[in-house]
């Protein structure tokens, strides 16, 4: 028995002392045989994205007739795990899809800076910031992702309010909510925070109404003061909104994707902080509550002197792997995937607000028109600037704040520490 314990112990000590070598090769071999590019994403198998991928393929084939393309659609919830394994192995796809923000910034070591290849697209496409680290762009944006506050005009009308003029101050907003809840029993917000995503949307949607423009820009630039009164106000408001019963019940056990959207779609809540692209966006909501009943607003003014704006960033984009044989060829595929033609198709079929600012969106209803109009004054979303580690912590703390097991101050202290490390 003694020996059985001693042996593994000896091995562990030996390994600890050695402590060398990693599973990562330093000179990753390329697996892109000449004339073939492999693309990983989680979109190309969606029915709504098929035509988009076909358009991009055709565009690329016209430029490089000899190259075959293979699109591998991975399940989204496994995507970064699989990609992590590929990065560890130093081989995998030539071109891969990324979410903007932390997910790509954590992995730029495995990517080729694209600036020299995609320079002609810089003006036409918006949303580069989310794919940029230290001044270099690592992916071309395909869609824009942001957090408009959608509201149900029908519920406003039922409560005798004017849906064309939603309140622009917090007091006015909560008063409207109270009136609507009294008349229709609909809660003010549909909240889904089971995945810890509710707080991300909340922070970004109301951030521009709480932080001063200076504080906002500092936050995005990485100078984040977690002790400032206005940052505290965001998290205090998160708690107060729940304590005052403005949220739909059971937020911590309700998924944002897609139970919370369901609550809004079935008119059980007046407002929801949604998305611009993918799902939980204007096109989904149009189907349930009708294009004429769907309104969009920016954050009400919560701190006097702020100018609320639409928070948005590059949503998803395509980057090029470091181990690809011919980065210029792979970058050309990225350019085809972000061509105006392809993106127009993506907008039409999937309802995504695409990165191409020249795509026409006038036929999609009032809500999308309002969103696109707000892009000009929009700013990067606050939560996208955070690392995935801090985002994950914020998700957990937000649940504990709602429960009352962690105070706002204690949460901010932890978040500040995580953000600095």
């Amino acid at each position: 028995m003694k020996q059985r314990v001693l042996w593994p112990a000896a091995v562990v000590v030996a390994l600890a002392l050695a402590g060398c070598g990693s599973a990562t090769g330093n000179e990753p071999p390329s697996n892109s045989a000449s004339g073939k590019l492999v693309v990983w994403d989680w979109k190309s198998s969606d029915k709504t994205a098929t035509a988009y991928v076909e358009k991009a393929k055709a565009d690329f084939a016209a430029k490089h007739p000899g190259v075959t393309l293979e699109f591998v659609a991975q399940p989204f919830d496994q995507y970064y795990t699989l990609l992590g394994a590929a990065i560890q192995a130093g081989k995998g796809p030539d071109v891969m899809m990324f979410n903007g923000g932390g997910q790509i910034r954590d992995r730029v070591d495995a990517l080729v800076p694209l600036d020299q290849y995609v320079a002609p697209d810089k003006e036409r496409l918006a949303g580069w910031d989310a794919f940029t680290k230290d001044g270099k762009a690592y992916a071309s944006p395909v869609t824009l992702q942001g957090h408009p506050i959608y509201f149900n005009k029908d519920l406003y009308k039922k409560a005798g309010l004017d849906p064309q003029k939603p309140a622009t101050t917090w007091d006015g907003f909560t008063a409207d909510c109270a009136a609507i809840t009294k008349a229709t029993k609909a809660s003010c917000f549909a909240l889904g925070n089971k995945e810890g995503i509710g707080i991300q949307f909340f922070l970004s949607a109301f951030g521009s109404g709480i932080l001063t423009p200076q504080e906002y820009d500092d936050w995005i630039a990485g100078r984040r003061d977690w002790n400032s009164p206005n940052v505290k106000k965001v998290f205090q408001l998160w708690k107060d909104v729940n304590d005052q019963g403005l949220n739909s019940k059971g937020g911590n056990s309700t998924t944002m994707f897609t139970d919370a959207f369901g609550i809004f779609q079935s008119a059980k809540a007046t407002n929801i902080i949604g998305l611009m692209s993918d799902i939980g966006h204007w096109k989904d909501f149009n189907e349930f509550i009708g294009p004429d009943n769907l309104g969009v607003m920016k954050s009400p003014v919560i701190t006097a002197g702020t100018t609320p704006s639409l928070p948005f960033d590059g949503g998803i984009g395509y980057g090029v792997a470091k181990w690809t044989k011919d980065p210029a060829l792979a970058a050309d595929l990225v350019r085809s995937l972000t061509s105006t033609d392809a993106l127009t198709t993506f907008y039409t079929n999937a309802g995504a607000v695409v990165s191409d600012t020249t795509v026409k969106t006038t036929d999609g209803g009032v809500a999308v028109t309002a969103i696109v109009a707000d892009l000009k004054t929009g700013k990067p979303a606050l939560h996208v600037a955070l690392s995935s580690k801090t985002i994950e912590l914020m998700g957990r703390l937000s649940q504990q704040i709602l429960e009352g097991s962690v105070s706002v101050d204690a949460a901010l202290k932890q978040l500040g520490e995580s953000d600095r490390s």
Binding site: S22, K194, Q399
Partner: protein, 286 residues
């Protein structure tokens, strides 16, 4: 060396090679990998840094504490199939039906079970509606950190007790009915029959169910956690496996995840050795 003496080694070689190549070697690589860094320090030796960080992370400590809860809840998870098997053995009305009904959940995958219970246990779901009718305040079964872990364990027990039930029933088959009849004619009540006849008669079976249920709880809760709570709320339902998955997949920290895996392996080793010695000791009694 003569061919005759060589033969046994040749014969066991495939099995040994498979174990060494596909079990031990990757295990050692993983342990070695856990002493290296992630991100900027990729591949560099960092000594025990990962382990220091791991044991300073309240989330990981919480996950280990939850393992402790699972061990404490083990008697309940064994008692439930034991009781139900006893009733079936004592031929309560409808026992034939119950025997097949109880086994049914065991054939469902954790993802399906989790999805079903997500619907049943949601805040505005059927269970809370029933509670409302009898005047009990709704409970946020999966959204309250004091309740969520027990909810998930409860669902796990529901989903897996069928297998233990079958083992118990086969144990009952070896029980001498004459003992029961003797106890009854001596005027023993049901609790006394269970206490003095059934439990001693089934001790081997009970031990076996303990061991298999423990292994099941420690190794196959991931699916339910993933589907039902995502580790939440506030990290209260994290288990080490889920923590490892998050660190590797979401945080892109494979070396750190290897350190957590190594700790989980050691925990399982201790539990496993304890169980082996436990079984060996009880085996000697016969």
């Amino acid at each position: 060396m003569s061919a005759e003496r060589l033969a046994p080694f040749v014969l066991i070689a495939p099995a040994v090679l498979v174990i060494v190549l596909f079990r031990l070697w990757p295990l050692l690589l993983g342990v070695n990998f856990s002493f290296t860094g992630d991100g900027d320090r990729n591949g560099a030796a960092v000594g025990l840094d990962n382990y220091t960080e791991l044991f300073a992370d309240p989330l990981f400590l919480g996950a280990l504490r939850n393992v402790g809860w699972l061990v404490l809840l083990l008697p309940v998870a064994v008692a439930i199939p034991g009781m139900l098997a006893t009733f079936i053995y004592l031929r309560v009305p409808g026992h034939r039906l119950y025997r097949s009904v109880y086994f049914f959940p065991a054939v469902l995958s954790p993802v399906i079970v989790g999805s079903i219970f997500n619907l049943l246990l949601s805040f505005d779901g059927p269970l809370n509606s029933v509670l409302d009718v009898v005047g009990i305040e709704p409970v946020d079964w999966l959204g309250d950190s004091k309740v969520a872990l027990f909810t998930v364990v409860g669902v796990h027990v529901w989903a897996t007790f069928g297998m233990a039930l079958v083992v118990f029933l086969s144990g009952f088959a070896t029980l001498d009915p004459a003992l029961l009849d003797a106890a009854r004619s001596d005027g023993a009540a049901l609790p006394q029959v269970i206490r003095h006849v059934i439990i001693p008669g089934l001790s081997r079976t009970i031990q076996f169910v303990f061991v298999t249920t423990m292994i099941g709880m420690l190794t196959s809760m991931f699916g339910l956690i993933y589907v039902m709570t995502s580790g939440g709320p506030g990290g209260s339902t994290y288990l080490p496996e889920y923590y490892i998955w998050i660190q590797q997949g979401q945080m892109n920290r494979p070396a750190f995840a290897s350190a957590a895996s190594t700790v989980l392996f050691l925990v399982m080793l201790v539990v496993g050795l304890a169980q082996v010695s436990f079984l060996r000791r009880t085996g000697k009694e016969d």
